[in-house]
């Protein structure tokens, strides 16, 4: 049995409770298509995303991690996404420095009214990750079944 033939990317999407999670909901109720490989994890705010979450997701077999939050200026807690923006920039840069493919991580701002943007973003991200292929650099054998 060849693993590669069956391989489809696993995507973890961290969505902020107030905008992007509702945006994903809207994409669903609007019957817009986005791939089933995207697993959504709801977080209270985009700045709740601990960098450890991103790395652990990769370690446990994710092929791509995307963070969706409110547009800058629209944060439910006023400023959370501004902090998240700086944190993720520095984290992604460090991953790049360590030789991890660019593109495996992404940040996208999706509001509660942007169901279509959510679906389009996920379609595009899954396409990028499919092109990049399986995540071999960040996995941990012990986490595979």
């Amino acid at each position: 049995m060849s693993m590669n033939q069956e391989w489809t990317p696993k995507i973890v999407a961290f969505c902020c409770n107030w905008c992007s999670y509702a945006g994903a909901d809207l994409a669903g109720s609007g019957r817009m298509n986005y791939p089933a490989n995207v697993k959504i994890i709801r977080i209270p705010c985009s700045c709740r995303l601990n960098p450890m979450f991103v790395l652990r997701a990769f370690q446990r077999g994710a092929d791509g991690v995307i963070l969706c939050g409110c547009h800058p200026g629209d944060c439910h807690y006023s400023t959370g996404n501004y902090y998240a923006r700086r944190r993720m920039t520095v984290l992604f840069s460090l991953l790049d420095y360590m030789g991890i493919e660019r593109g495996r991580t992404r940040v996208e701002w999706v509001s509660a009214a942007e169901g279509a943007k959510f679906a389009a973003t996920m379609n595009d991200f899954v396409k990028t990750i499919t092109e990049l292929g399986e995540n071999k650099k960040l996995g941990d054998l012990r986490c595979k079944k």
Partner: protein, 323 residues
């Protein structure tokens, strides 16, 4: 220099106003200096010479909170940055510490002498810029500036940023561009960088020395001490766990790292850990403006701050460097 410091400390400790002194004592091997808490009686055990590379500021977190009295700390110019940073984070009460800035002309890395091919060292004496090394195979000489600690090559200057008084003269030992090694890595392709870091980090034995020595890494409970994580132990060489540990270790001190270089100095495997931290410092300077952690007490560091015009994280995808 050592005599001068001990004499001054005798004066200060005489009237019982201070609980003690944090300084360096003779370690287990001839060129090892270990941190120690001295009282008036033990002062003749205090050592201060070119082997006192370790940064004593972190020991103040515990020691200064233990007693009602003030405590005296001996800090080199670079240690003052870590001290300021710890005060900023309210880990040390500035009013409980009397800081004596001690002069520093760069500290010597005995490993570098050994790597230069001088083995069986029995004694080292200094003669200006020259080190006279007695070995089991006769006397050798080596230039002092060739065997300075790695961190001294990124010296931040001779000024003590927090001292209540200063004893002795300092000299700046900075050599060239401290980001040169980071740039060399950036110029490689992603594959080469990955190979480099996987090669280096898989040497890690998870002794946690880098974490325990780091003055910025002072959480009481560490995320890596969780026995339920299932991945707490040393992983196989191919696994991501060591990289993850070091990414988080470096990232956790992002914006707070003063670039004191202790992580690399204590690593028993010789992993250049400071290159991770230095890359973050370079990024932060580039993206959010020049910042030196620990320059003064009460600074707001770049990752707890923002502007409305910050770059989007996608800037990483279009930036220069190897693809």
């Amino acid at each position: 220099m050592q005599e001068m410091i001990i004499n001054r400390l005798r004066e200060l400790l005489a009237d019982g106003e201070y609980a003690g002194v944090i300084g360096w004592a003779q370690g287990e091997t001839p060129f090892d200096r270990t941190p120690n808490l001295f009282n008036a009686e033990g002062l003749d055990q205090l050592r201060y010479d070119s082997f006192c590379g370790s940064n004593l500021s972190k020991y103040l977190v515990q020691q200064a909170s233990k007693t009602e009295k003030k405590i005296i700390a001996l800090l080199k110019p670079c240690d003052c940055y870590s001290f300021n940073q710890l005060c900023t984070e309210h880990r040390i009460d500035r009013n409980k510490v009397y800081v004596i800035g001690v002069g520093c002309k760069g500290k010597i890395d005995v490993e570098k002498i050994r790597k230069a091919g001088i083995k069986g060292i029995t004694g080292i004496t200094e003669d200006g810029d020259l080190l006279k090394i007695e070995t089991m195979y006769g006397e050798k000489e080596i230039s002092r500036k060739d065997v300075l600690l790695e961190k001294c090559l990124a010296c931040k200057g001779k000024e003590h940023k927090c001292a209540d008084e200063v004893l002795g003269e300092s000299e700046e030992t900075c050599s060239g561009d401290k980001y040169a090694a980071v740039r060399r890595l950036e110029a490689m392709t992603a594959e080469e960088r990955f190979e480099f870091w996987r090669g280096e980090l898989s040497k890690c034995i998870r002794c946690n020395a880098c974490r325990n020595v780091c003055p910025a890494c002072s959480c009481i409970k560490c995320v890596f001490d969780n026995p339920n994580s299932g991945v707490q132990n040393k992983a196989a060489a191919d696994d991501f766990e060591e990289s993850l540990f070091h990414i988080i270790r470096a990232y956790h001190v992002a914006g707070r790292c003063t670039d004191c270089g202790e992580c690399s100095r204590v690593c028993p495997q010789g992993i250049p850990l400071h290159l991770l931290n230095r890359r973050i410092i370079q990024d932060v300077n580039e993206l959010y403006g020049d910042y030196q952690a620990g320059e003064s007490i009460g600074q707001r560091h770049p990752l707890t701050d923002f502007t409305l015009e910050d770059e989007e994280p996608s800037v990483i995808d279009t930036r220069g460097g190897g693809k």
